[in-house]
Structure formats: structure tokens, C-alpha cells
């Protein structure tokens, strides 16, 4: 059951991320908007992250049978997704996320060399949670300003993804509980909610620039 959910989640994430990424890329090619460029990077990253996990698990199950790569694949995929979530949050103008001092900036990657893959996954999941929660709150605030109903769906989607990341992170504390399947269901719901308003954008006469 868990394996099936994992596969559904990764394939949905790959396809939804790819779909929104391609749409953002078409928008960027047509308008040259930097916001759409950031969304393109964000959603291609999210799509690639889900694909890495899906491909890793599938390769392990069908061909490799080593029993050792799953942890690293999960960490790598989660890390790539975190980059995508960062760009979504960054689009909402995070101005004071990084320390201003160059010396402190140099220290940022240091923890990544001092931790195991499991600890790295903890770090990525907690960062993803922060980015997604920030994105959900900002999107909901923009709904109160513009009353664009699509923003509610995106805010709910980002919120469910954030909840999924939180539950996924918390399931390390209680392994083999219902938390991990609940995390996957929440994330699948979030991805679907994210795609609903995007699927309604009229693209009939929009084309790539020559």
C-alpha cells in the first residue's frame, strides 16, 4: 500500500511539476517576465525531484536490488524539491532570509558536510515546510487583495504540501505509523489542488516566440 502511494505521489509530482513548469516556460518565452522564469525553475526543480525518487525506487525494485540506495535517492530527490520550493517562496520576495555577512554566508553549506543522509533529509524537509508555509500564507494574503479564486486553490495546495512535508518529517519519530501514508495523501492532494487553477489558463493563441 505504502509503495503504491509512494509511486502515485512521485508520478503525480513529476507530471504536475512538469505541466506547470512548461506553462511557466511558455509564459516566460512570450513575455520575458522574471517572475515566470522563477516559477519555471521552481516547478522544473520540483518535477525533477519527484522523478529522481520515482526512478530510484523503480530501478532499485526492478533491476538493482542492492537495498542501500533508497535513503540517498530519497534525500537527493527531497533536496532538489526543496530548491523548487525555495524559488516559489523567493518569488514572494523573501528579502531577509540569508545573513548579510559574507563570512556567515560561507558557513551555510557547512552542515551539509557534517550530517548523514537521514539528517540531511530532516533538514530538507524542515526547510521545505518553511518555504511552503510561507508561500501558502503569501498566496492567501494575495487572495484577500485580489479576490482571485485560483489563489485559494494554490494556497490550499501549498498548505497541503507543507502539511505533508511536516508529517513526513515527523514520521521519523514514529516510523511504521500512519503518519507517512498520511503525509503522502496530503501531498498528492496538494499537487492536485495546485494544478486546478493552472489548468484553466486559456492558452489557445499563446505560442513560443520564434
Amino acid at each position: 500500500m505504502e509503495f503504491l502511494l509512494e509511486n502515485i505521489l512521485n508520478l503525480t509530482g513529476f507530471l504536475v511539476g512538469l505541466g506547470i513548469g512548461v506553462m511557466s516556460l511558455i509564459g516566460y518565452k512570450n513575455t520575458g517576465s522574471p517572475t515566470l522564469f522563477r516559477l519555471t525553475v521552481a516547478f522544473f526543480s520540483i518535477s525533477a525531484g519527484f522523478f529522481v525518487i520515482w526512478a530510484g525506487y523503480t530501478a532499485e525494485d526492478l533491476f538493482l536490488h542492492t537495498g542501500s540506495i533508497e535513503g540517498w535517492v530519497q534525500t537527493l530527490g527531497t533536496g532538489i524539491q526543496t530548491v523548487g520550493y525555495f524559488f516559489i517562496a523567493f518569488s514572494h520576495s523573501i528579502k531577509s532570509f540569508f545573513p548579510k555577512s559574507a563570512h556567515f554566508r560561507m558557513m551555510i553549506p557547512l552542515p551539509l558536510f557534517l550530517t548523514s543522509s537521514v539528517q540531511l533529509e530532516h533538514i530538507f524537509r524542515s526547510m521545505s515546510f518553511i518555504f511552503l508555509a510561507y508561500g501558502a500564507i503569501e498566496t492567501m494574503l494575495s487572495y484577500f487583495e485580489n479576490r482571485n479564486r485560483g489563489a485559494i486553490s494554490v494556497a490550499v495546495g501549498l498548505g497541503l504540501l507543507a502539511l505533508g512535508e511536516f508529517l513526513g518529517w515527523y514520521s521519523f519519530v514514529f516510523p511504521d505509523s500512519i503518519l507517512y501514508p498520511a503525509s503522502m495523501v496530503s501531498r498528492i492532494g496538494g499537487l492536485i489542488a495546485l494544478f486546478i487553477p493552472v489548468s484553466r489558463v486559456p492558452l489557445t493563441r499563446v505560442r513560443f516566440d520564434k
Binding site: 517576465s33 516559489i88 498566496t139 485560483g150 489563489a151 489558463v201 486559456p202 499563446v206
Partner: protein, 95 residues
């Protein structure tokens, strides 16, 4: 409270004005665009020359004054602008 407009939004408003509010068949004058798009003369001059060089606007000189008309590429850009403004709005963002 003053609402901040992105560069893209200003371009959209200028193209929108040249498409919808033409005073005559020759196009809109700079003064008319300044008033309708609510932008300073120094800023609009640069934007108009960029839009003309990109082929989004057509410039015509009538009785000593420059007038601007939206081109076919400009119409296509405006269509894309509307579609992707809605797309970005869904994410709570401005293009």
C-alpha cells in the same frame, strides 16, 4: 496606499491603451499615453523606443508629432500578457 506597478504591468497598460483608446486611425500621441498609462515623460520615452524596436508598437509621424499604434506582434504579446497575468495571479504573484 500607492500601488507598485511592475515594468511588465506598465508595458501591458501602454499596449492596452494603444489598442483600446485610439483617438484616430493614426495612433495615440505620447501625451495621451502619458495621461492614460499614468507615467512620466522621461520614463515612457525609453519604454516606447524599446517597444518600437521590439516590433510591438508601430511609430508614425503625423504633422510633426509621433504617434503609436499596436502591431500584430503587440496584439499577440498582449494576449499572452493577459493569459499569464491570470496564471501568475493564481500564485499570488505579478508578472
Amino acid at each position: 496606499m500607492a500601488v507598485y506597478r511592475t515594468h511588465m504591468k506598465i508595458i501591458g497598460e501602454i499596449l492596452e491603451t494603444t489598442q483600446a483608446d485610439l483617438q484616430d486611425g493614426n495612433g495615440a500621441s505620447v501625451t495621451y499615453l502619458i495621461r492614460k498609462a499614468n507615467i512620466s515623460h522621461s520614463r515612457i520615452s525609453g519604454i516606447l523606443s524599446t517597444l518600437v524596436s521590439q516590433g510591438l508598437l508601430e511609430q508614425t509621424a503625423t504633422s510633426g508629432t509621433n504617434k503609436y499604434k499596436i502591431s500584430q506582434s503587440g496584439r499577440e504579446f498582449l494576449h499572452a500578457y493577459y493569459a499569464f497575468t491570470k496564471f501568475a495571479d493564481s500564485f499570488g504573484l505579478s508578472i
